[in-house]
């Protein structure tokens, strides 16, 4: 009961936060120089006063900003994110078209980084001071420090251009018409490079964090007690050390999960992955206000959601934590 009440409060708080975020975003986006009319007029290669006035009226940009904000919030509260000026489609449709690709990419990257990060960290802590530990630490440091963009480009040059093992762009072989397992395999091949480049940074972070936390926990009295009781080392590692060491990793994973969608912008751009990060980036360059705000709102909602989930996961990892 207490849990349900807690959840409801958190959801209500989250919704309030989203409305505030939408308002602040609206003002921030309008503060940037240039508007969609300037971009469209520029792209058309010609424009005149009539053309500009026509567009402004069409987009409702001839109204005062306060009126526009009121109207926007009103629509958002009814679940309507508006119409994209440039793409001439409802924002909700555009986002829903792109969301699966992004979730697939970031979800895979998230799973890969957690799995390999924690495993490598655990391995390094068990072999602390040995060559394996040094190797993992150095590799993690390199991935931690290398810019994602550069890494992605190098991966394309090596695996796509030089070796021709993996496709250089897109999320499927265009025009191949694969179905069933062939389609899954094809998408998998396209997914590998972007998911890996996106995963490497967090993999490095988790590895370093897990290693440090495990070494820390291994010194504690209850671990010594467990050892003294004669428990097997593997069980001590899993049940006592790792479980306690995972808390900081969970915190960070929650943050990563919340920011995943926005964080995929670079990867999606380099690999021409048709996800929401790129949609957001294009909308920004084109001052496609409604679309940009829609993307912001969806990413913000994800962050709120994952925050809540993280708190729930805490209680699972460590039952002593109360909501």
């Amino acid at each position: 009961m207490k849990r349900l009440q807690y959840m409801l409060t958190r959801v209500a708080q989250g919704l309030l936060a989203l409305v505030l975020i939408a308002t602040v975003n609206f003002m921030l986006v309008r503060a940037a120089p240039g508007d969609p009319v300037a971009v469209i007029a520029g792209e058309a290669g010609a424009s005149d006063a009539q053309f500009v006035a026509q567009l402004r009226a069409q987009f409702g940009l001839d109204q005062p900003v306060s009126t526009q904000l009121g109207r926007y919030l009103g629509h958002v509260l009814q679940g309507d994110l508006g119409f994209s000026y440039r793409q001439q489609q409802p924002v909700v449709d555009l986002i829903l078209q792109r969301l699966p690709a992004t979730l697939l990419l970031t979800g895979t990257a998230f799973a890969l980084s957690l799995l390999f990060g924690v495993t490598l960290g655990a391995l390094a802590s068990r072999r602390a001071g040995k060559w394996l530990d040094s190797l993992i630490t150095v590799v993690a440091l390199v991935f931690y420090a290398t810019p994602l963009y550069w890494l992605a480009m190098m991966a394309v040059l090596l695996f796509s251009v030089q070796l021709a093992w993996l496709p250089a762009f897109g999320h499927m072989t265009v025009g191949a018409g694969y179905t069933g397992w062939a389609a899954v395999l094809d998408t998998g091949r396209h997914l590998l490079l972007p998911a890996l480049t996106l995963a490497l940074f967090y993999m490095a972070v988790y590895a370093r964090m897990t290693r440090a936390a495990m070494l820390d926990v291994a010194q504690m009295d209850f671990v010594k007690t467990a050892r003294a009781k004669g428990l097997k080392p593997g069980r001590i590692l899993r049940a006592h050390v790792l479980r306690n060491a995972l808390l900081p990793v969970v915190t960070l994973a929650g943050i990563q999960a919340g920011g995943m969608i926005g964080g995929a912008v670079l990867t999606e751009t380099v690999f021409a992955w048709p996800g929401i990060g790129r949609l957001m980036f294009d909308a920004l360059l084109q001052r496609d206000y409604n679309l940009l705000l829609g993307c912001f709102l969806v990413t913000a909602a994800m962050a709120v959601l994952f925050n809540l989930l993280t708190d729930l996961v805490y209680t699972l990892v460590d039952p002593r934590i109360e909501l």
Binding site: G34, G45, M153, P167, A168, F169, G275, R278
Partner: protein
């Protein structure tokens, strides 16, 4: 290709007009293979494919296959039949009569008639196409005298009138779909219907656009290639890698950075051409805001011309794919003359002119064009040159939206730009120098605020004359005058090289290059 050029050269040499003879008959390559799939880059993703509503570069690249104009133009900019099979001009230069091709069908099977043409010009495009609206000021009326005859009546003779009919300037749109609707929000915009050699098939947003050959195309044997994919790849380095990996057959001008063009062109099985930009002839310059001192002083502007080393910029920033501009007319367009005052690089002279110009050491802001590396390098080179003669220069960084807005509002001192010249000074040059074309809200008119009644009069005379000799006379004088006055500092005639795999035959077959349809290209 060679045969076509030979025949055309022969025809021109004998003074024989080839108007009325379909270009396809001259150009038909009997050995060209049919079928296959072509992969082309498009950058950025077009906002829409309905050519009557949007005419930006990416839209034209794709929609030029779907929509057609009455005419197309060869690389010498001579008009060629497209939807019109022949045309005549009355002796007073005020009536143009077009005979339309019979048997042309829209992609949905409805016949294309002169009623569609009248609707396109007089109703649709007048409402939606700012550039055409400007050019149509000379038009008194347009009438369909029978289903296949179209008659344009002009208020006064307008020399460049025959230059208005390519698909990006005057695309034919289907009346039966648009009449009586709100053009901008018509749901049919998402599934464009034209008369062209390719039909719209599929658009996966953020990924690709697919066109398929129109089996009922009105030119026999065309198109040759069966399917064309336009791939959206947002990052310039990734586009170069995609081309290099062999998955892309054509990288249109501007889709990869110039340093990559040079590198990729050297790969085996890759060809590069700078042809296909004759109609547009992009011309770049430094906009100078005449509304403020010291930019309003002609000596300051001349100092800029002497200080900037356009030769070196062409080599370094543009990797040789640009040539220094000598004045307002691109050498590819009609009536361009090299007989104008020259501004060789001369720092001493630039310093002397600057001293006389009343420049007091104030900071001058330069707004580069946010279109990639070459423009950035060019900005750095201009900064270096102007710093050397003692001008304090600050580079102002913006993105495209910010750039547009600043120019729309005249909020700049110096700025880069390039404009298309559309084959004729009256269509693509005059707009930047005539005082009637000063208006806030557009980055493509007389943004510098230059006013000279003699220049206005000469451009008007050039536009309203129809005989080439009097047009030549007016345009020669205006070129000399402008180069003397330096309303803007001309930089380069830019070329946008097209990279393609050598297995693609004949990718560029007209003066509008890839923006014309790809129907005549084939795969070996």
């Amino acid at each position: 290709m060679q045969r076509r050029q030979l025949i055309q050269l022969g025809a021109t040499g004998l003074g024989v007009s080839i108007a009325g003879v379909p270009l396809e008959l001259l150009a038909q390559d009997k050995d060209a293979k049919k079928g296959g799939t072509l992969n082309v880059l498009v950058q950025p993703e077009p906002p829409g494919l309905m050519m009557g509503l949007v005419q930006n570069g990416p839209t034209q690249l794709i929609s030029g296959n779907i929509y057609e104009g009455l005419l197309r133009y060869d690389d010498k900019l001579n008009p060629q039949p497209q939807l019109a099979s022949s045309w005549t001009v009355s002796p007073d230069g005020k009536t143009y009569t077009f005979k339309l091709k019979s048997g042309v069908k829209w992609h949905d099977g409805k016949p294309f008639t002169s009623a569609d043409a009248v609707f396109s010009v007089d109703v649709f495009l007048r409402k939606t196409h700012a550039r055409l609206r400007g050019s149509l000021e000379a038009l008194e009326s347009v009438k369909a005298t029978d289903p296949l005859t179209l008659e344009f009546k002009l208020k006064y003779p307008f020399g460049p009138f025959l230059g208005l009919f390519e698909n990006g300037t005057m695309p034919m749109v289907p009346r039966h779909i648009y009449e009586g609707t709100d053009f901008a929000t018509n749901p049919a915009n998402a599934t464009p219907i034209g008369t062209g050699p390719y039909k719209f098939k599929e658009w996966v947003k953020g990924s690709y656009i697919l066109l398929e050959a129109n089996a009922a195309y009105h030119v026999p044997n065309l198109p040759l290639i069966e399917k064309v994919y336009y791939h959206v790849i947002p990052d310039a380095a990734a586009r170069a890698a995609a081309f290099e990996s062999g998955k892309i057959d054509i990288a249109p001008g501007g889709s990869v950075e110039y340093f990559d063009v040079q590198r990729l062109a050297k790969l085996p099985g890759v060809a590069v051409t700078t042809k296909g930009w004759e109609f547009f002839s992009p011309h770049s310059w430094l906009w100078i805001n005449h509304r403020k001192a010291p930019m309003n002083n002609v000596k300051f502007r001349q100092a800029l011309m002497h200080a900037i080393d356009r030769e070196a910029m062409a080599k370094i920033a543009w990797y040789g794919f640009a040539k220094p501009a000598t004045g307002p007319f691109n050498s590819a367009i009609k009536y361009a003359s090299a007989d104008v005052p020259k501004y060789p690089k001369d720092m001493a002279k630039a310093k002397a002119l600057l001293a006389e110009s009343g420049y007091k050491g104030e900071t001058i802001r330069l707004l580069p064009l946010p279109y990639g590396e070459s423009w950035q390098r060019q900005a750095e080179m201009v900064k270096q040159a102007l710093t050397q003669i003692g001008i304090k220069l600050e580079l102002v960084a913006t993105d495209v939206a910010g750039w547009n807005q600043r120019l729309n509002e005249w909020d700049y001192d110096l700025a880069f730009t390039y404009l298309y010249q559309y084959g004729d000074p009256a269509l693509g040059v005059a707009r930047n120098y005539t005082s009637t074309n000063i208006a806030k809200g557009s980055p493509f008119n007389n943004v510098e605020g230059y006013v000279n009644s003699r220049v206005d009069a000469l451009f008007a005379a050039g536009a309203r004359a129809t005989d080439p000799a009097s047009r030549q006379k007016a345009y020669l004088e205006v070129q000399k005058l402008l180069v003397e006055e330096v309303p803007v500092a001309w930089l380069h005639e830019i070329t946008f090289p097209t990279l393609y795999r050598a297995k693609v035959k004949n990718p560029v077959s007209s003066g509008i290059g890839l923006n014309d349809s790809i129907a005549r290209a084939s795969l070996a």
